[in-house]
Amino acid sequence: MSTWPILSLLVFLPVAGIAFLALTGRSGAENDRNARDVTLWTSLANLALAVVLAARFDPGKDGFQFVEHAAWLPELGVAYHVGVDGISVLFILLTALLVPICIVASWTTVVERVRSWMVAFLAMEALMIGVFVARDALLFYVFFEAILIPMFLIIGIWGGERRVHAAFKFVLYTLAGSVLFLIAILTLASLAGSTDMDRLEHTPIAVDAQRWIWIAMFASFAVKVPMWPLHTWLPDAHVQAPTAGSVILAGVLLKLGGYGFLRFSLPMLPAASAEFMPLVYVLSAVAILYTSLVALMQRDMKRLIAYSSVAHMGVVTLGLFTASARAISGAIVQMLSHGLVSAALFLVVGVVYDRRHSREIADYGGLVHSMPRYAVLFMLFALAAVGLPATSGFVGEFLVIVGVFPVSAVFAACAAAGMVLSAAYMLWLYRRVVFGGVPAGPPLPDLDRRETGMFLPLAILVLWLGIQPDFVFRLVEGPSAELAARLLAAQTGGGV
């Protein structure tokens, strides 16, 4: 194994990029171009590092790899402890891929305060990767919550007309949830004498205590996922955020909730997780069915995709809390797939928004005539969102349904119904925007090279993940089998 600290490099390389940005001038066309270049190359370098990490990661080994450990606040038992397993590697890849795409997406659309925008994105990248590598609960929390600050600014400075409302709603919802998570971490720390996640996973906790800790953590992660009925911040945040902000929000930030379940609730509190499984199931089912119906009735494209995100994340939570390796890996694949597909869909909306400055579905129609390339890519991502076989969306949803079915046919049917409903709202959206009558006004130009460039990697990955998901499974099957075993043991042995 390598001796150089690749994980710390991944976290701190964007910080170095921020330091570079601080050296560039404040405004002016040349400074703006410099800022864009510095950020793009920093994020591409980070992507290269992430690929190196994935290539050197050995899926055959148990436990965490590339571990770094340094004492930090010893009497609280807090350490700078980072490491990755297969799940983290995938999420790091996703993050490192989406950030340069966001930079490209905002290349010509963000013209005000370019430098601040770039600083915010690099800060986001550092913090998001930090969450995925942290192996210390408090370190995790620091990264997890610090993300709020740059995201608040991204929505609030560069957002739409009701951006202030959306930014505050986003911050207060997430903050209210995550402060309870802090109490949960402190409680765990006082029980285990350490915040090291490896140790916390092997600390037996009384079922009664587990229950309270689980609820406190659930408050935090369920807001982040977001699960029904705590999802109402999401449509506002998505609609008001600039395109790249929506991409990163849908692509990575929503995954933090699911990732939290994977790292905390399931391994540390298996008994409580098993006990609360029915609650999660019901909330997920409501999310799938109800928000799909809500999505069907939206007139705003971004709002529609935002609601469809809630529905798709419902499938994820359904899978995560099922004691089956298949369902858990399905949920992880679904998270990745949703990260790619929803990011792509927000870019799709962003492209036409840049041209006509409207998100209303009714303002569009007949785009296939003037934008054929766009129509093809939109079709691909819409079908991936629906879960068509041979796209990434199918693999995850299918595995979740297969995994849930032996536990409860009813809930598996709910997830399946969600797929049907998603076909309804996505295809209807597609028909109204891409086909149909052409509204008045000049025809919109097709994708230029920059835009095609940002869609291509996503399109390739969506297809690759749909046709050849082996790579992903090799990485996730070990950890998911272990989680499933823990849950199963808690369900049968714990007497709950």
Partner: protein
């Protein structure tokens, strides 16, 4: 009683007393143009006293009136550091003639002397003397700007309410003395458990109320917004930093010293004070439009978080409160330095809306101020997060889950108003009519405190360790 070791033990205090006395005598003869030298001399005295703090050996001096220990030394370093720092930035904020009066540095020195005496008090008498010596110069400083009606009003308000609080405190001391027959802390700790419970509890309540007033804890907070707003900003900065540390230190020393036997009585009472302060601070600030009033409600909230640590009644609680006081002092100085650093259309920042558009025109300043405010809100990875972390940890380990939950929820409400200021700075539009105030000290202060807020996690182990060592020596 041998005098020499006693004098040695009180070396920093003696230096301050000497400096203050000399400056009082020299001051009237210094012409206006040379007034800056007085401030420099006062700063030198403060720094000299700071350097002397670690030298005396630990122990009781002056027949048990004063105690020298690690806890006291930690707090004295904080108090003297905060005093010197606020005096340093005050120099540039004192434009008007009355504010340039020679009394300013002298009063600051006397107040600092009172704070040192408060911090190492080991007797109800020295406690009262120290607290009054700290407070009376503060009343004068508040009203020093004679041409301002607000300052006069604030001074009178502060004085009247402060006198009331002192009376309560003195009454509490009298009750404790009456029921135990002693004013010595060590003797009180032995005698109190045998005293009539009702009488001892009454004494305790009055004593705690008096100190809580100085800490501006709810429900004794009424004076804070008015005084903060009315006092000249350099004075407010001083008022908000050093005296709070001294009062917090006194609260810790009293509750974990002579009154530790009554812990069952004061722990719930302090928890109630904590809840009240946190909620009053959080909800009160929501509707404020004035920056200084907003920071005043912030202070009220912060005293609530300090009480969360104290209410735990454990060594971890003392530790948490110590960490909190240290971080709070630095963040407060930084926030007020921000108010002093810039003017808009030749007017100081008074309302939140005066900051509109500063994120666009002065991005570094906006970043620094945002970092300080969000640090006060307790957001990771900023300094204030570490402060809150340790007090909540103390509460959780003492099984006070409900208090920790109330605390974090109050901090969400508090975050709303801190974010509101950030929102005005970054989201709202405004003209480019900001001007930097002349002088580098304030700018340097803003930079240093903002960097502390941003990068605190790297130095946190040092501060936490120092606070732990200090907290370990508290107790009889």
């Amino acid at each position: 009683m041998e005098l020499a070791p006693a004098l040695l033990g009180a070396l920093p205090e003696l230096l301050l007393a000497l400096g203050a006395t000399v400056l009082t005598m020299v001051g009237p003869f210094v012409v206006d143009q040379r007034r800056a030298w007085l401030t420099r001399a006062a700063l030198l005295t403060l720094v000299g006293a700071l350097a002397l703090v670690p030298t005396p050996p630990d122990g009781l001096i002056f027949g048990g009136l004063f105690v020298v220990d690690g806890f006291g030394k930690f707090m004295k370093i904080l108090v003297l550091g905060a005093t010197a720092w606020t005096l340093l930035i005050a120099e540039e904020g004192r434009q008007s003639a009355s504010m340039r009066a020679f009394e300013y540095p002298v009063l600051v020195l006397f107040s600092a002397l009172g704070m040192l005496a408060t911090v190492s008090a080991n007797n109800l008498m020295s406690l009262y003397l120290g607290l009054e010596m700290m407070s009376i110069p503060l009343y004068v400083l508040t009203a020093l700007k004679r041409e301002s009606r607000h300052a006069g009003e604030a001074g009178i308000k502060y004085f009247v309410l402060g006198a009331l609080a002192s009376a309560l405190l003195l009454y509490g001391c009298a009750l404790l003395y009456g029921f135990t027959g002693t004013t010595d802390f060590n003797a009180l700790a032995v005698a109190l458990p045998d005293a009539p419970p009702l009488g001892a509890a009454a004494g305790l309540v009055f004593l705690v109320a008096g100190i809580a007033f100085k800490l501006s804890a709810a429900p004794f907070h009424m004076w804070t917004p008015d005084v903060y707003e009315g006092a000249p900003t350099p004075v407010t900065a001083f008022l908000a930093a050093a005296p709070k540390v001294a009062a917090g230190a006194l609260m810790l020393r009293v509750l974990f010293g002579p009154l530790i036997g009554l812990a069952d009585v004061w722990m719930p009472a302090i928890a109630v004070l904590a809840v009240l302060s946190m909620t009053v601070g959080a909800f009160g600030a929501l509707r404020q439009t004035g920056l200084k009033r907003l920071l005043a409600y912030g202070t009220i909230g912060h005293s609530g978080y300090i009480f969360v640590g104290i209410a735990a009644g454990t060594p971890e609680g003392i530790h948490g409160a110590c960490v909190y006081l240290a971080i709070y002092a630095v963040m407060t100085i930084g926030a007020f330095a921000c108010l002093l650093a810039m003017h808009r259309s030749h007017q100081p920042f008074e309302q939140v809306e005066h900051l509109a558009g500063i994120g666009r025109h002065r991005p570094m300043f906006a970043l620094a101020f945002s970092a300080l405010l969000l640090s006060m809100a307790g957001l990771p990875p900023l300094a204030g997060f570490v402060a809150k972390l340790y007090v909540f940890r103390a509460a959780v380990e003492a099984d006070l889950f409900w208090l920790a939950v109330v605390g974090v929820l109050a901090s969400v409400v508090a975050a709303a108003y801190y974010f509101r200021v950030v929102y005005v700075m970054y989201f709202a539009d405004g003209d480019e009519d900001f001007e930097h105030m002349p002088g580098r000290r304030v700018t340097l202060t803003v930079t240093a405190t903002a960097l502390t807020a941003l990068l605190f996690l790297f130095v946190a182990p040092v501060v936490v360790e120092a606070a732990a060592r200090a907290a370990g020596t508290l107790g009889l």
